[in-house]
Symmetry: C2
Subunit: 187 residues, 2 copies
């Protein structure tokens, strides 16, 4: 069957800045989907989770099946400030600062085609990283690297710099009907 | 590091209906991301692409790396009615009708935990499948199966039946700056 596929080949390769924001479900999963698609093209992907890191999520083992083409770094300790999260602001900030250093190193390493900074928009909103640090990353992005920034409340200056921006709006969510998070769908 | 993850275990497993709609980038990729996440939990996924099938997209080879836990069926012949697509309506309709039969068989097979019907919302909008056929699928969904329906212009009656619905709005898209589709990001 594959013989019959038309294969697009962009005449000009461009490293895009993609922002996935909004309050609905689908930001992290969309970034993961791009990573899955990318490995099919033989590309290398690095994912840094800024906020997650304390809870198991299916992508941890899913991505292992795609090693070494996707690397995943979990730097967070869960969502700062939400009910039940035991860590103080300073610890979240220190983690996020470590994540931004890691992001810069990975971005400039020349190893990857795509760098996904998951929940970095929330990290800015919660003052775990500074807007200036994110803008500095964007400004130093190698021209052919795709940089994907996810998380609600993306800063307008980040949106301004981006090439493709989607706002994912919640129309409905199962948790409002008191349905618990479900494996494979919600985590 | 993994030893320290908290593992959520829902007390009540529920098979969700998830709709990803809207005009922005991130519907198919979000469904692919859920598929990647699901295989990490040891779940089985079936993906049926209603509209795509003539153009190569990275997920075709990405998903092979996750076989046999994800199966992908490409039943379409590209987007019906868009400029450059050479196939008549009747051929698109016949393909989509084949796809809906396949979807029903897969849904009722008991093999899968997640069934993704990619671009099925467009197929309804373009009258390649009937709304009644999609509602019939939804009504016959096994209780524990997650059913994910993607594509712009989701019908209000489909949204009404769903548990989780995200509307993905285009804020910006690179193609508006005449940037060509890029591998791993756009296809």
């Amino acid at each position: 069957m594959e013989e019959t596929f038309k294969k697009l080949e962009p005449q000009k390769k461009v490293g895009l800045i993609v922002v996935l924001t909004g309050n609905g479900k689908g930001k992290t999963t969309s970034a993961l989907g791009m990573a899955l698609r990318a490995v099919g093209h033989g590309l290398k992907v690095c994912i840094i989770h800024f906020m997650k890191g304390d809870m198991y999520s299916g992508e941890i083992d899913g991505i292992k099946r795609l090693a070494p083409d996707i690397e995943l770094y979990l730097t967070g300790k869960g969502f700062c400030g939400i009910y039940g999260n035991p860590y103080p602001y300073e610890e979240h900030r220190a983690n996020a600062q470590e994540a931004i250093r890691l992001a810069k190193n990975k971005m400039l390493s020349g190893i990857y085609d795509i760098l996904i900074l998951d929940e970095i928009n929330n990290a800015v909103k919660l003052k775990l990283v500074d807007l200036s640090q994110v803008l500095d990353l964007i400004n130093k992005k190698p021209p052919l690297l795709h940089l994907i920034l996810t998380g609600r409340d993306a800063h307008p200056e980040v949106i301004e710099k981006a090439d493709t921006v989607s706002e994912i709006k919640e129309v409905k969510h199962a948790y409002r009907k008191k349905i618990e998070p479900q494996k494979g769908i919600d985590y």
